[in-house]
């Protein structure tokens, strides 16, 4: 049609663009080569500075060139006076700004900026701060910028409350931002530290012999501020319950008590002439300076973990020199020192006793409350209420369900057991991708509850049958258990940690899907193993049992391995101590 503006055809445009690109590439390659050859000859002149600038301004992610540039700048520092250096670095900063415009998430540029800012003779931190704020207003999740900003704040000593107000602003404009929530979590303990006086006992501890609960942690926040934070974060998750950043912050708020590091249990057995020690966390006993004193005499002993797989383990054992405690008419006093932590635990082996132990009633509530704790029950209770309210509105929200479970655990793990199980069931349905995770978590909680029940009953029998367990945990708490019943669960293996059950005599694990017995390893007192209806398929799977010297009774009915030819004779060879074999 007439009158129209004539346009170049796309082919023409392409051609022109191609030519342009080729020209650019040529220049780029030539400059790059020039730079490299200069660096080889370690020339640090202004020309090199200029060449690198040319390249970096089009490609700010060229790390080698940044390094070269730093070499040049460091060289310049040696030949120029302070004012000149200041000028050089100032122009470096403005050059960096142009690089950041090319790529606001360039590692190289941000790192270099940090380097320059730190070396600048007279830094202008206020300007740097406003640069960060501008970048974050464009992209509030630019973590490079967050990083740099933290450095700037640190160097310039921005007041903490000002920074907190900054996070307020960012969260206000978009609360789906881990960086701001996280930053907040680092600021709050500085601004509103938890009051230093020991918290009053908020719950009646079941055992009065408890040491004061381990709550002296610098990263806690005072309660008044906590309540405000709860309100803020609740606004976030009520507004968008599917946004995980708020939920994670909430979990942080609800507290994560760190348990005191200590020796939680010392067990001594006269017969085996050995000592087992349990710690509150996995340690490497060979390197933490563990000292065993027997009747005032330090002993040279070798500590071994319960399973060769573990370099770190919460349970360590050592054999005493033969004959030291074997006489049943003697009384012995044993002390284990954990020199690194300035803590120790005594244990007396009285006359006529074949074994002895000393420990806290380890199953006090703190033990498993580490996920969420510390807060006063009333606060947790009201948090649970508001979560329940949200759950009513959003019955299928997984974050809400999970948080309710955690709150219930913190409040009354046994009392809420039924609800907890129901919520887990819903969780598995609404978030089927994480079904196995929930099953494992549920198993963990069930085991915790069973340990609590066992402790209240003051028995050494651990029975948790028919609870859909998929995994075993907290086995370090079962050091003293003599009888364990894991029947009718969904266990697939007895993991190496199982070897922590040093006192175990009877293992019942019928009706599971156990394939591996890896953890039934060097259990000195184990006599009976009941594995009816499991999935043990080869003789090799039974190999670990050979390390248990007292094994007498073994039930393998309903396992594939029973179909193996010559099974009886093979077993007799493998496990000569077994006298009562059921196939």
């Amino acid at each position: 049609m007439h009158g129209r503006v004539k346009l170049k055809s796309t082919a023409q445009q392409e051609e022109e663009k191609k030519k342009e690109r080729e020209k650019k590439l040529k220049i780029y390659v030539a400059t790059r080569d020039a730079c490299f050859s200069k660096r080889k000859e370690s020339i640090c002149d202004d020309e090199a500075l200029q060449l690198t600038q040319q390249l970096l301004s089009s490609n700010p992610d060229f790390a080698t060139l940044w390094n070269y540039r730093r070499e040049i700048l460091m060289h310049l520092e040696t030949v120029k006076d302070e004012d000149e250096i200041q000028k050089v670095y100032i122009s470096e900063l403005s050059f960096l700004e142009s690089c950041l415009k090319v790529n606001p998430k360039s590692y190289g540029s941000w790192h270099h900026r940090g380097w320059v800012s730190a070396r600048l003779p007279r830094p202008d931190w206020a300007r740097e701060l406003s640069l960060c704020d501008r970048c974050l207003s464009l992209d509030d999740r630019n973590f490079h910028c967050w990083d740099y900003r933290r450095m700037v704040v640190k160097m310039s000593g921005v007041p903490v409350d000002q920074e907190l107000a900054f996070t307020d602003r960012l969260i206000g404009s978009n609360f789906s931002n881990y960086s701001s929530w996280h930053y907040r979590s680092t600021l709050l303990p500085l601004l509103h530290p938890e009051s230093p006086e020991p918290p009053s006992p908020c719950r009646e501890p079941p055992h009065s012999s408890l040491p004061p609960s381990p709550q002296t942690h610098s990263h806690r926040v005072c309660e008044e501020q906590l309540l405000k934070e709860y309100e803020l974060v609740q606004n976030a998750f009520f507004t968008d319950p599917n946004d995980q950043s708020a939920w994670f912050y909430y979990r942080w708020l609800l507290g994560r008590a760190e348990r005191e590091e200590m020796i939680s249990c010392v067990y001594v057995s006269r017969e085996e002439e050995r000592v087992a020690v349990a710690f509150s966390r996995p340690v490497n006993a060979q390197s933490v300076g563990l000292l065993l004193v027997l009747d005032g005499q330090p002993q040279r002993v070798e500590w071994t973990s319960v399973h060769p797989r573990f370099k770190h383990s919460p349970v360590w054992i050592c054999a005493l020199p033969p004959g030291t405690i074997s006489d049943i008419t003697n009384e012995h006093n044993l002390t284990v020192h954990w020199t690194e932590k300035h803590t120790h635990r005594d244990c007396a082996l009285y006359t006529g006793r074949s074994e002895s132990w000393c420990r806290d009633s380890a199953t006090d509530q703190e033990l498993f409350r580490s996920e969420l704790s510390v807060e006063k029950t009333s606060v947790l209770q009201s948090e649970l209420q508001s979560c329940n309210q949200l759950q009513e509105l959003e019955p299928l929200n997984k974050w809400c369900l999970l948080t309710i479970i955690l709150l219930m655990r913190a409040l009354d793990p046994l009392g809420y057991e039924k609800e907890t199980l129901a919520h887990f069931q819903t969780l598995k349905e609404v978030d089927s991708m994480r079904c196995a995770y929930y099953s494992d978590l549920c198993s963990k909680f069930m085991i915790e509850n069973t340990i609590l029940k066992m402790e209240y009953a003051e028995v050494r029998v651990f029975s948790i049958s028919d609870k859909n367990l998929t995994t075993l945990c907290h086995l370090d708490q079962l050091l003293l258990v003599t009888h364990i019943n894991l029947s009718s669960n969904q266990l697939q293996r007895l993991p190496p940690q199982f070897a922590m059950l040093q006192c175990l005599e009877v293992l019942e694990a019928d009706n599971n899907s156990i394939e591996s017995l890896e953890g039934v390893y060097h259990l000195p007192k184990l006599e009976e193993v009941l594995l009816k209806n499991n999935k043990i398929s080869t003789l090799a799977d039974l190999q670990p049992l050979a390390s248990c010297p007292r094994l007498k009774r073994l039930d393998l009915r309903g396992n594939p391995v029973t179909q193996t030819a010559n099974i009886e004779s093979e077993l007799a060879e493998l496990l000569p101590s077994v006298t009562d074999l059921l196939l």
Partner: protein
């Protein structure tokens, strides 16, 4: 922005455009009131499309035709662009008001039949204002002091007197004081009127009829003001006049839905590069006598202090769930939206928010309609900011001018103060063959597009009863909801304040939108007329602002000046059934909707009727992709088209100049649209970075 009065003929076009594009006056349409240039009647005698009226729809049509190579003549009888869509400076608006008070001179009927050929007849268009005037009931009130501003802080005496007003003696003193003041002001008044502008007699009459005691009014106001805010310096009327250029007061009050058809068109056609936009920063509503912020985005809901967490959840859930059509919703088809909202277990305040501020419908609007507008609102959220709306910097009057500019860049010819007197119709084909312009030139055209105001009532089909809009424009001294920032752009929905009253849409603009002077706010109120604009809107104004008629409103912003008028509702024009030749198309004036959908739809449908095969406003090409005649590459054109090449040459020069100017003036204004709202900030950043460097 288009400071140009008119550019009429070929030779002049390039010249004037170059002046225009070299950026003489990009700020505001302040020079709309140039003295008329002596025009030479030598327009080309043939066009593809002649367009009469520069309203939004006409301007879009003009740009669309010009862009695809049609020869466009675009004329307007007025001295300014954009007809009823125009923006005025304060002084410009006063002139406009005056014009609407004047008696219209009877049109001298001229006989153009000498220009007719065999088988043709004339259709006269209406060019007299009174006949076609879509504006009525214009009323103006000024509550400012007429005194010159004092440079120093107000003297301590008058406020202290005012504070002790309870005592009888003092009261007298005040009265005395006020009387002298009013006398002074009256003097000033008359001077002002004769000198400057438009405060015609009508205005005084109006204020006298409305206010009980007009003389006492002003001083009382000022006393009350000084009582409430003794420190704040009040803005006087002479100041308004002096700073009048800073105002860009729109005749229509609309907002651009960020996913509405206007924004889409601006982006698609690259016309967006001719303007800048600001986000509306908050949505407010008026409930229980209080102005409240409506939480509509996720961030708003999160930050809202008026909602409980449970309400937050309910609101968010409703907002997410209503985006999808469900059977549950369909069950409510035909039943009121309010009923649907009720049944969603949303509390009273949430229902109000959703009905009045988000869906912006009335209580008896059917559910399906309510949901559609709710969805539209929500879809527009978050594209450029936390509200669904954009507002063009320098006012809405910019938008039609941007399209005119696009048309001019592609060769359209513009004449203001130039009209078409009559159409030449071929009796046999019932088609318009040519038009006769106001200078008696016969110009042939294949199509004619006309603003409805030019068409006599006997020839057009209007919806009955006639619809009209009530408008009020206020200049106030403060925001109706003060916040940390004094630069908020607020959309305010005011539900009917009593049964039978209309729902009012209100837009409060701050000075950074370049529509009012610093220290003031420009407030637009719009509703469907029930009575006159004053009857419809003054109750709302009285309740929400401090005026002499209001009581106990000391904490509200004071109205400095206000204007009421009624405007015909453009949506009253029927699409079909007009008594016009088949190739004549009518565009309506502004409608009452908040967005621009009506006008854009109208423009697109006209374009498609005429050129069904063509793309509507395709993107303007990049300057570097245009083949200029100087280029060796352009050999495609044959020699037979010399004449046309010449015109093209001109167009291209324009284009070049256009681009150049753009580089100089607006460098990075471009593509602001595409950058998802960050555009503005980014630009700011770049500028600051540059200055820092």
């Amino acid at each position: 922005m288009l400071g140009l009065d008119s550019f009429n003929i070929d030779s002049v076009v390039i010249h004037t455009i170059s002046i225009f594009f070299s950026g003489v006056c990009l700020q505001s349409p302040c020079s709309l009131l140039f003295e008329p240039v002596t025009l030479q009647p030598c327009l080309p005698s043939e066009f593809d499309v002649v367009i009469l009226g520069t309203g939004l729809a006409e301007s879009v049509v003009a740009a669309a035709f010009s862009r695809v190579g049609q020869r466009v003549l675009h004329v307007d009888r007025r001295s300014y662009y954009a007809a009823n869509w125009a923006s005025f400076t304060f002084n410009g608006l006063l002139t406009w008001i005056q014009q609407h008070h004047e008696e219209s001179q009877p049109e001298e009927a001229q006989d153009w039949s000498s220009l007719l050929e065999e088988g043709e007849e004339l259709i006269y268009l209406s060019n007299s204002k009174s006949e076609s005037d879509s504006i009525s009931n214009v009323q103006v009130f000024s509550f400012t002091s007429e005194e010159e501003e004092e440079e120093e802080a107000p003297s301590p005496d008058p406020p202290s007197i005012a504070e002790e007003q309870t005592g009888g003696a003092e009261e007298d003193a005040v009265k005395e004081n006020s009387e002298t003041e009013s006398a002074d002001s009256k003097e000033d008044d008359t001077k002002e009127k004769s000198e400057a502008t438009a405060d015609g007699d009508d205005e005084e009459q109006a204020s006298q009829t409305e206010g009980e005691e007009p003389e006492a009014d002003q001083p009382t106001t000022s006393a009350a003001q000084s009582q409430s805010e003794p420190i704040k310096k009040k803005i006087s009327y002479p100041q308004l006049l002096k700073e009048g250029r800073r105002f860009n007061i729109d005749l229509v009050s609309k907002l651009m839905y960020s996913r509405g058809s206007l924004v889409d068109l601006l982006i698609k056609s690259n016309v967006s590069r001719y303007a800048e936009f600001k986000n509306v920063t908050r949505i407010l509503t008026y409930r229980h006598g209080k102005v409240q912020q409506v939480p509509c985005s996720r961030a708003d809901v999160f930050a809202s202090r008026q909602l409980s967490v449970v309400e937050k959840r309910k609101l968010m859930r409703f907002l997410t769930s209503c985006m999808e059509e469900t059977e549950e919703q369909q069950a409510y088809n035909g039943r009121p939206y309010l009923e649907f909202l009720c049944d969603q277990q949303l509390g009273d305040n949430l229902q109000d928010f959703l009905l009045h501020s988000i869906a912006m419908v009335t209580e008896d609007t059917p559910t399906e309609e309510g949901l559609t507008s709710t969805r539209h609102f929500l879809r527009c959220l978050g594209r450029y900011g936390n509200t669904p709306f954009l507002f063009p910097v320098y006012g809405l009057g910019e938008i039609p001018q941007c399209f005119c500019r696009m048309c001019a860049v592609f060769g359209g010819i513009y004449c203001l103060r130039h009209s078409v007197n009559c159409l030449v119709m071929d009796k046999e084909t019932n088609r318009c063959k040519a038009v006769i312009d106001s200078r008696g030139q016969r110009i042939s055209c294949s199509h004619f597009v006309v603003e409805e105001g030019y068409v006599g009532a006997d020839r057009k089909q209007m919806a009955t009863p006639t619809r009209s809009l009530s408008r009020a424009v206020l200049i106030t001294d403060g925001s109706i909801l003060p916040s940390d920032s004094d630069q908020q752009v607020s959309m305010v929905t005011v539900p009917p304040i009593a049964a039978g009253c209309p729902a009012v849409k209100m837009v409060e603009l701050c000075s950074s939108t370049m529509t009012c002077m610093p220290g003031t706010y420009l407030v637009h109120l719009t509703c469907q007329s029930v009575g006159s604009a004053y009857e419809d809107l003054s109750p709302v104004v009285t309740r929400m602002f401090h005026t002499p008629e209001s009581h106990d409103q000391e904490n509200c912003p004071s109205v400095l000046w206000c204007l009421y008028f009624n405007m015909a509702d453009g949506s009253g024009l029927e699409a079909e059934g007009h008594n016009l030749p088949s190739n004549v198309y009518m565009c309506s004036g502004p409608d009452g909707g908040l967005g621009h959908e009506h006008a854009i739809k109208q423009a697109e449908s006209i374009f498609q009727k005429i050129l069904p095969e063509e793309d509507f406003c395709p993107p303007a090409p990049n300057p570097e992709d245009i083949i200029y005649d100087g280029d060796n590459t352009s050999s495609a054109m044959g020699g037979e088209e010399e004449e046309k090449e010449e015109t093209e040459d001109k167009q291209e020069k324009e284009e070049k100049e256009d681009k150049q100017e753009e580089k100089e003036e607006t460098e990075d204004k471009q593509e602001e649209e595409e950058k998802d709202g960050a555009g503005e900030m980014e630009k700011e950043e770049e500028q600051t970075l540059q200055t820092e460097e």
